[in-house]
Subunit: 201 residues, 2 copies
Amino acid sequence: MQSGTLYVISAPSGTGKTTLLRKVMADISGLMFSVSHTTRNPREGEQNGVDYHFVSRQDFEEAIGQGHFIEYAHVHDNLYGTNRKSIEEQLAQGIDVILDIDTQGAEIIRNLTDLEAVDIFIAPPSVQELERRLRGRGTEKEEEILTRLGNAKMELEQCNRYQYLIVNGELEEATAMLKAVILAERARGHRDYSGKPITFK
Amino acid sequence: MQSGTLYVISAPSGTGKTTLLRKVMADISGLMFSVSHTTRNPREGEQNGVDYHFVSRQDFEEAIGQGHFIEYAHVHDNLYGTNRKSIEEQLAQGIDVILDIDTQGAEIIRNLTDLEAVDIFIAPPSVQELERRLRGRGTEKEEEILTRLGNAKMELEQCNRYQYLIVNGELEEATAMLKAVILAERARGHRDYSGKPITFK
């Protein structure tokens, strides 16, 4: 089976990434988010391997020790992490996997030579527009807005390290662009055929 | 001004390339065919630099001598050719240029290190289907069909040398793929920004 493509997607807070990804994933089949690992208990209706990989703290910590996590975090006394092997399993099933990760995480992926990824940066049309959007939500305090803006500027400086840059000025246009990138990657000869000569019988 | 992208597109005879390109060019702006040079006289309504670059035989032959033609051919006592400079002029105007050229021509472009191109191979779903289409036309003699099929098989062996491979099984799908490739290339960070750091003010 043709293995999937890993998409590493980064976007500063306030770029509209969540809405954008939701629209793209509704339209394109064979595309899923990376399934994270967690030590917390499954909630009603959650499926192991679909919503999360539910593992024991001991297994999680062993995996940390073995360097299996691309990134992990403590949240409310539980561990959450992105395990390289689980991504590879999804890819092996022929699924295109989206890994929504910040610029630091993306840099780690790039330096992991055995995980080939297509990286995409989603940018706001300008920092002014980003600030307008963050203030428009009306949910954050001034201090938090300034922190988010500062982080966003730092992240934006990294956008040239990505293969694709999509400016989310107009949602429909950005959706079309992101869908185009994913379809185009499916047309990449070297991905579809792994460099093996094709014989058209 | 952001310069355009050169698309080198090859497809064996009977692949449906002409219909496909016509559909894509109707939907995407800023995309044109490469303008060829010719020594023949302009016909009623033809514009120099739009339909062809109309040049004298002497100028054409000098350009051949100077190695300016990627390819050229004699047709009915006139010369027709693809001049590298005219492609570069279109690109410099920010136009994405389609160069419809066979696998041999594409190989020449690849080896011209100063002309960066995105190459795309359009393939039929199978050789059987290609044969069916060629016979379906009902316009060619058996001998000609066999020659075309033989050439197509030789060209298909080259498809792995292309960055993108689009299988034209269903026209709407192939059109969507080719449009996706062109849009995606426009989202390529390194093309849009030439590796220069972007400062989001």
